[in-house]
């Protein structure tokens, strides 16, 4: 998918993002500590349930995976709070994960992540969930990646 960087947003270091889910609950994470670009990764009109889309974020060397689950998800955006995105690099040893049968699966050592539960590891050797990419939906339906909660595998800092 074609990327466009329309603008960047400044996320101040150390300020907690008290973002809320649809249920009005505090999310799983504290704030990202770094400043991230805002990048268009899709439009809600083009997404179909369980049809994952890959994109690069926060730069060309990191792959993300965007999926509309068709069921509410922690950190989900869109009218049904079911659109989520994660770093596609497995947090165990860096292999690219695939979205299959409603979950994210690493083909190297079979770690599995629940996309509706902030990509927590519900089976396998990975020690932490996949980093969740914070999304925002613009009035025209564009989906923007705003920041990343969690460290992309293979980096000491995300940006």
């Amino acid at each position: 998918m074609i990327l466009s960087r329309r603008r960047t947003i400044q996320v101040l270091s150390g300020v907690t993002m008290a973002s809320l889910t649809g249920a009005g609950r505090a999310q799983f994470w504290f704030a990202p500590s770094l400043t991230y670009p805002a990048v268009r990764v899709g439009n809600i009109r083009n997404l179909q349930n369980n049809q994952p889309v890959t994109f690069n974020y926060p730069d060309a060397r990191a792959q993300g995976i965007l999926v509309k689950l068709g069921r509410p998800a922690l950190g989900g955006v869109g009218p049904n709070r079911d659109i989520v995105a994660f770093s596609a690099a497995c947090t165990h040893m860096g292999c690219p994960v695939v979205y299959k049968n409603g979950r994210l699966l690493c083909p190297c050592h079979y770690s599995m992540f629940d996309p509706a539960k902030a990509a927590q590891v519900y089976q396998g050797l990975a020690g932490t969930g996949l980093p969740q990419i914070q999304l925002r939906v613009a009035p025209n339906g564009d989906i923007l990646a705003n920041a990343i909660n969690g460290l992309i595998w293979g980096r000491v800092r995300n940006v």
Binding site: R25, F30, S33, G94, G102, L105, M112, Q120, T128, L151
Partner: protein, 859 residues
């Protein structure tokens, strides 16, 4: 809902950071790790020459081999110098165990499990605690030791022996234990005291879990990890390594199943020997993830046998019978290497050669529920020679599914005999041994029980001794029996009742004030109430410790130098100290030393120098290595040829020093160690020449007939009881958490994933009871009850549930019966009957955050 702190940047160790070698504190596999520490206030750079990793961090790391440094691998600790230090603990790149820097979800959290007052691990014990009135209060070591030694001596003085001093202690490696602390515990209780009522950390007695193998001449740690890469067939019998020994599975078994070890097979096997990707046989009541992962590779090379609970030894004997009928054995090997007189008993009782084959197999299928064709297929995969001349190479790995089965002794004996009949031991790609749970570090003076009922046993059931009202002092070290022991509810209630009886007595006619009043009133109260004085020595205030009178703070992994071996290669390495223990916490060996010296002081004051001398065993122990060397010298002479290795204890490390271990680093040395030309030499694989018996020959044994279930469980199978308790329950562990969660309960990464103990239930049963994933149920029987979260999964069959054995919020052991194998006193933790009901209401918060996707489904 958990509020988990995610990170998007990590500190970089500067080039001058201190680097230590260590080994993961958790499971049996013993992955190698590197620890980097440096003072807070500096950082390294991205270029390879600017950081201690020596790695270019400007580019993303290469998957499957690049540096692994993830969010949970960094923390900050404070040392005794008052300075803060970064601690980075990452998988080592030079370990023969965790190749390519592989690691598990356990090892990934080594750094965040370190003690810090700024994190949840602030719950670590810092100072001795004494129950004063109804609360714990801090006291100095000298006061604690004086009270403890005074009570222990008072009991001995009155009784004239140590029968009323009961102990439950760790006897393993890793996790802050290791050879050093095992030697300390052993010297105190076996040489200074003569304690006979002692039990091992996870069971009610002091026993081997595998006397059925050891008394045949086979120690349970006999293979090397390379054998999993060389085998034609891997058998996992009551073992689920993908979840409990993950890296052993992913780096040593899975590559063989995938056919990725053919180069090693070419180099290591015989000239002209045929080989291919490995076959996998899983014997387990569940469709474990170890099975279902392999099914993703090639289902046609997997075989799943699901025997009825408790019937595994009948199945192992049946596979052996097929091996016999199809002549897959080598008579010359049997004659040269095994006791042919005892073989007759094996043929009669285990193989039942007097019973016609068809009749025998029909009976086996009736008992075990396993079809004859599957049994025969298993025998072919295990023992059918390859071509004309090459015996098959089968590695059989078993663990608690066999050990904590009904009839422990016969189960283990049947399995090892099946392997020896097919010559599957002592050769490359073969072996019959334990998967292991934790690492090992056993070195002790002779224990009070020499063996099973056939060798001077069985050992005393210490749980029963205590719940029957016997014993006065109960000393628990590095274990949490309030979660881990069988028939747990009865045990907890009874210990609480007895400890409280003493606490109440201490308050009568005024609380004690002076130290000598404490001692005399405790001794008086023990006699007057039938109560129990409980001492807990641990790193946290465990469930058990909450009921103690005296709590002694111990140091943990990384807070001292220690040594252990792993189970899959017997690889001995040095786990280097990289931080200080909290407060006044001490190594277990040092606590044992100090108790001994305090006892000696009391005896000297009475002019009993000879008794005092026995308690001064640790007076020259000043460093961890002093204790390591002292323990090492207790092993027999090991300057012997390789052909005699079978005569050595499996963990013999005599002649090894810390300097030697520093030199070999992650490569370690495989025990038993021998001395050749003055240098320590390791043992790759055991029993290639002789077995570990007096004459060096394998000692056969005739197993019992099938006699049905013991009364403790059989009571649930008749009439109304069968209707009231309609489910079989088996139990076990899970990938995400370690043992009783003593560390994990403080880590949000773990508690979010597994917020409660759980059961697995088949969809048919769930539908019948109106239960869905995430619901809460009550599980109960006459022994006990508990609340569990439900996963709906086809891992279990209809009519059988699987329950997580330990979680800090509850244990399935509450429902486990008090049955133990009369031959070994090993419990049957993994089989009983229960009733289940859905609990009213639900916990939406829990349902929203935990995942209920099926954990064994990888397709």
């Amino acid at each position: 809902m958990s509020n988990m702190n995610r990170r998007d940047a990590l500190p970089i160790p500067p080039a001058n950071a201190t680097v230590h070698n260590t080994v993961c504190q958790y499971c049996t596999v013993g992955c190698g790790y590197k620890v980097y520490t440096w003072p807070v206030g500096t950082q390294g750079g991205l270029a390879a020459n600017q950081n201690a990793f020596g790695v270019d961090l400007r580019n993303p790391q290469t998957p499957l081999g690049g540096l692994v440094y993830t969010e949970t691998m960094h923390s900050i600790v404070t040392r005794k110098d008052g300075q803060q230090y970064h601690v980075v603990i990452v998988p080592a790149g030079d370990s023969p165990i965790n190749l390519k820097r592989d690691h598990s979800s356990r090892g990934a959290t080594n750094a965040v499990a370190t003690w810090s007052d700024a994190r949840a691990t602030r719950e670590r014990l810092k100072y001795p605690l004494l129950r004063i009135g109804d609360q714990f209060q801090v006291i100095p070591w000298d006061e604690a030791l004086t009270i403890l030694a005074g009570v222990a001596k008072g009991i001995r003085d009155k009784d004239g022996n140590d029968d009323n001093i009961a102990v439950k202690a760790f006897d393993h490696g890793g996790s802050g234990a290791g050879f050093e602390n095992n030697w300390g515990v052993g010297k105190l209780f076996f040489d200074a005291f003569s304690v006979k009522h002692i039990a091992i950390h996870n069971r009610p007695a002091y026993n081997s879990e595998v006397w059925g193998s050891r008394e045949r001449g086979v120690h349970e740690l006999n293979y090397d990890a390379i054998d999993a890469r060389l085998a034609d067939t891997i058998v996992l019998w009551g073992a689920n390594p993908y979840e409990t020994a993950s890296v052993f599975y992913t780096e040593h078994m899975l590559p063989n199943i995938q056919g990725a070890t053919s180069g090693e097979k070419q180099r290591n096997l015989l000239r002209g020997e045929p080989f291919g990707p490995a076959y996998l046989i899983v014997v387990d009541p569940r469709r474990t993830s170890s099975l279902t992962v392999a099914e993703q590779v090639d289902k046609a090379r997997t075989l799943h046998l699901r025997p009825n609970l408790g019937t595994d030894y009948i199945l192992a004997n049946a596979i052996a019978r097929v091996i016999w009928e199809r002549r897959y054995y080598n008579m010359q090997y049997l004659q040269n290497r095994t006791d042919m007189q005892k073989f007759e008993e094996y043929k009669e009782k285990s193989l039942k050669l007097d019973t016609p084959y068809a009749e025998f197999m029909a009976r086996v299928t009736q008992i075990t529920g396993v079809p004859r064709a599957d049994i025969e297929k298993a025998a072919d995969w295990i023992a059918k020679p390859k071509g004309a001349n090459f015996p098959r190479r089968t590695l059989t790995i078993y663990e608690k599914g066999m050990i904590w089965n009904m009839k422990n002794y016969d189960q283990i004996a049947a399995l090892v005999q099946m392997n020896v009949l097919s010559q599957n031991i002592g050769r490359a790609g073969t072996g019959c041994g334990r998967l292991g749970g934790h690492q090992e570090g056993y070195v002790r003076p002779p224990s009070p029980t020499p063996g099973s009922i056939y060798n001077g046993g069985p050992p005393v059931n210490v749980d029963k001794y205590l719940t029957d009202g016997k014993g006065k002092l109960y000393w628990v070290i590095g274990t949490n029996p309030y979660l881990s022991t069988p028939n747990n509810q009865l045990f907890r209630k009874r210990i609480r009742e007895r400890t409280k009886a003493l606490s109440d007595y201490l308050g009568r006619s005024g609380e004690p004030g002076r130290t000598e009043e404490w001692v005399s009133k405790i001794l008086e109260g023990l006699e007057a109430t039938g109560g129990l004085f409980m001492v807990v020595q641990d790193i946290y205030l465990t469930h058990t410790a909450m009921d103690a009178h005296l709590v002694l703070p111990a140091s943990a992994w990384g807070e001292a130098n220690q040594t252990s071996i792993n189970c899959n290669s017997r690889l001995l390495r040095l786990y280097e100290k990289f931080m200080d223990p909290p407060g006044e916490a001490k190594q277990d060996w040092e606590i044992c030393k100090l108790v001994g010296l305090k006892m000696a002081e009391l005896y000297r004051a009475e002019g009993k120098g000879d008794v005092a001398a026995k308690f001064e065993f640790g007076k020259n122990w000043n460093t961890d290595e002093d204790v390591f060397l002292d323990g090492g010298n207790s092993f027999p002479n090991n300057a012997i040829p390789a052909s005699e290795e079978a005569t050595l204890p499996a963990e013999c490390y005599r002649g090894v020093t810390y300097a030697f271990l520093r030199q070999v680093g992650q490569q370690g040395i495989r025990t038993p160690v021998r001395i050749e030309n003055g240098r320590p030499v390791g043992t790759l694989r055991r029993y290639s020449v002789k077995f570990g018996t007096k004459d060096g020959k394998f000692s056969w044994y005739g197993t019992d007939d099938w006699e049905g279930y013991p009364p403790e469980v059989a009571k649930y199978l008749e009439g109304d009881m069968a209707k009231k308790y309609p489910f079989w329950m088996t139990t076990g562990r899970a990938q995400a958490i370690w043992q009783t969660m003593y560390n994990d309960r403080f880590l949000p990464e773990k508690m979010t994933v597994m917020p409660m103990p759980y059961i697995e239930m088949h969809p048919q049963d769930a539908q019948a009871l109106g239960i869905k994933g995430g619901d809460l149920v009550q599980v109960w029987n006459e022994e006990g009850n508990g609340t569990f979260m439900v996963y709906v999964t086809d891992a279990v069959r209809p009519g059988l549930i699987f329950a997580l054995q330990y979680h800090h919020l509850g244990t399935s052991n509450s429902m486990t019966s008090g049955y133990t194998d009369p031959k070994t006193t090993i419990p049957w933790y993994k089989g009983t009957r229960v009733a289940i009901r859905k609990i009213r209401g639900s916990l939406p918060d829990l349902q929203q955050t935990a995942s209920f996707l099926q954990q064994n489904k990888f397709d």
